[in-house]
């Protein structure tokens, strides 16, 4: 569970069934378990209005368990980038009454929320639950490049190569944490790199 630090640091909750006609779930990996746990408290017939979009990762773990919930639609995607056009299409054609549920890694939750915000969904009305890896999506403030799956502190920018302090400062618009050069004064000063976002 991610600890609260500064105000922009996202805080995640526990998925719970919302009133509404259509329910869109987007999850990756262990996020499936959040949906399966929520299903235990869902009212009868809830899954008749549910679409689950799932990125299982290698091994296709949890796919069978999600299908067993018998959602109206189930879509398996190889990666977030590959499901983006489909997600945008779904939201563009959706009506008020659609509720969004995001579960899994911070990267998945953040990027799906970014698309949802553009579609006019307020972030406070989106159900989220963090499960699995704490790896961060980070933007380098110097070159603006995004580095995925950052697990260390500090971390190396995959674009410009600067050594970056991964801050808790988060941008919903960019769906990324901020990375700032940790040794700007003296590049020869190399602090030890620890793996802390697992």
């Amino acid at each position: 569970m991610a600890a609260k630090s500064i105000i922009s640091r996202p805080v995640y909750g526990t998925l719970s069934p919302q009133p509404g006609k259509h329910h869109l779930f987007i999850a990756d990996a262990e996020g499936a378990l959040a949906i399966i746990d929520m299903a235990k408290t869902a009212p009868a017939g809830f899954f008749d209005g549910v679409e689950i979009v799932f990125i299982p990762g290698s091994g296709r773990k949890h796919v069978a368990a999600l299908e067993a919930l018998r959602p109206a639609q189930f879509h398996e995607a190889p990666s977030f980038a590959s499901l983006l056009p489909r997600l945008k299409q779904t939201l563009a054609n959706a009506h008020m009454g659609l509720r969004l549920y995001l579960a899994g890694t911070e990267g998945l939750i953040g990027q799906a929320m970014q698309v949802a915000l553009e579609a006019g969904i307020d972030h406070t009305s989106i159900q989220t639950e963090h499960r699995g890896s704490l790896a961060r999506r980070m933007q380098c403030v110097h070159c603006k490049g995004i580095t995925e799956n950052v697990t260390t502190q500090p971390a190396t920018c995959s674009h410009c190569g600067l050594l970056l302090l991964v801050r808790d400062h988060y941008s919903r618009r960019l769906a990324a944490f901020q990375g700032v050069c940790i040794n700007a004064e003296d590049r020869s000063e190399i602090p030890p790199m620890e793996e802390i976002f697992r």
Binding site: G20, H22, H95, M96, G97, R99, A119, D122, T124, S125
Partner: protein, 321 residues
């Protein structure tokens, strides 16, 4: 004392009867300058000096926010109300100098919305007059559904149809025309925000259906100025100032507190803004809560009251004022 608002010295520049119940009042600044900028949905509190009595009633600004050379409000005559609207209709004539508050907006548009769906009932049309003008000027996407008793009491229905044509949908009670609310709410594109202003029954109905149909509360905006209801007189002890006051039948608790020389903060005087929220120190009796600000839990707790619209029946009430 009105929080964050300064007063404006204005003169009534025009008084225009609109129909049997509604009259429009135009205000300009006495010094000839422009009035402060406002946004659609804002209201002003109009001070009415009626002999010994001063009434402070909120009215939505209904002119275009693009024109601040004058403010306009429309007042529906309420023959059985506390007299504010009757005073406006009978005693306010062009040339009269009046004092109004700076505009305050507790019913503003959420400009992140992809579409604005507006539902008006009766005189609840007034904030939408300003909001539609604001949105039309910037190419905003809106649709207004307006329910009125009869065509002749459909205040500004003709103006709105003329300006916005098919974006305006009218429903007349006497022709038994009803909004198919569930269908309307279910067919709105994602990113729509809902705005409702009208009688409290209508607001409650729309909010309930929107919630049941999955509209997040952030997307549902409403405004209902509850005029303070008259009721049996009651006595109140103000613990901080050490005063004991009587609230008359036609007086609100807030007005009685002000009459005793105590100046609690206020903005809307209609039970929606929360400024005058007051802690209850002790009570022996029953609260008559009429506000839209406190939660049901707060109402049940007996620890808080909104003196602008709520009353009390019983033996004793001590407030932290």
């Amino acid at each position: 004392m009105s929080t964050g608002t300064t007063k404006l010295d204005v003169v009534v520049s025009d008084v225009v009867p609109v129909n049997d119940l509604v009259t429009r009042f135009h205000f300009r600044r006495r010094d000839g300058e422009l009035l402060p900028t406002f946004s659609g949905g804002a209201h002003v509190v109009v001070e009415m000096r009626d002999g010994e009595r001063t009434r402070l009633n909120p009215y939505s600004l209904m002119g275009s926010p693009l024109n601040t050379s004058e403010y306009t409000i429309s007042v529906r005559r309420d023959d059985v109300g506390r007299g504010g609207s009757l005073f406006m209709h009978r005693s306010v004539k062009p040339g009269l100098e009046m004092v109004i508050s700076y505009p305050v907006n507790l019913f503003s548009l959420d400009l992140r919305a992809k579409k604005h769906l507006m539902l008006a009932g009766g005189i609840g049309i007034t904030p939408f007059m300003a909001q539609t003008a604001q949105l039309a000027a910037e190419g905003g996407n809106f649709e207004l559904h307006y329910t009125c008793r009869t065509a002749s009491l459909g205040t500004y229905a003709d103006v709105l149809r003329e300006r916005y044509d098919r974006r305006i949908r009218l429903y007349h009670d006497d022709r038994d025309e009803r909004i198919d609310l569930d269908r309307l709410l279910s067919s709105q594109p994602l990113g729509t925000h809902l705005y409702v202003c009208g009688p409290s029954g209508m607001i409650g109905w729309v909010r309930d259906r929107a919630a049941a149909l999955g509209w997040p509360s952030e997307t549902v905006h409403f405004e209902h100025f509850a005029a303070p209801q008259p009721g049996a007189p009651f006595d109140v002890t103000l613990a901080v100032t050490g005063k004991t006051i009587r609230v008359d039948e036609q007086q609100s608790l807030l007005e009685a507190i002000e009459a005793a020389g105590v100046d609690p903060p206020y903005l809307c005087r209609g039970g929606v803004c929360g400024q005058c929220e007051t802690n209850v120190i002790s009570h022996d009796g029953k609260f008559i809560h009429n506000d839209h600000w406190l939660s049901e839990e707060d109402h049940r707790s007996g620890c808080k009251i909104m003196p602008c619209v709520s009353r009390f029946e019983g033996r004793s009430l001590v407030l932290e004022r």
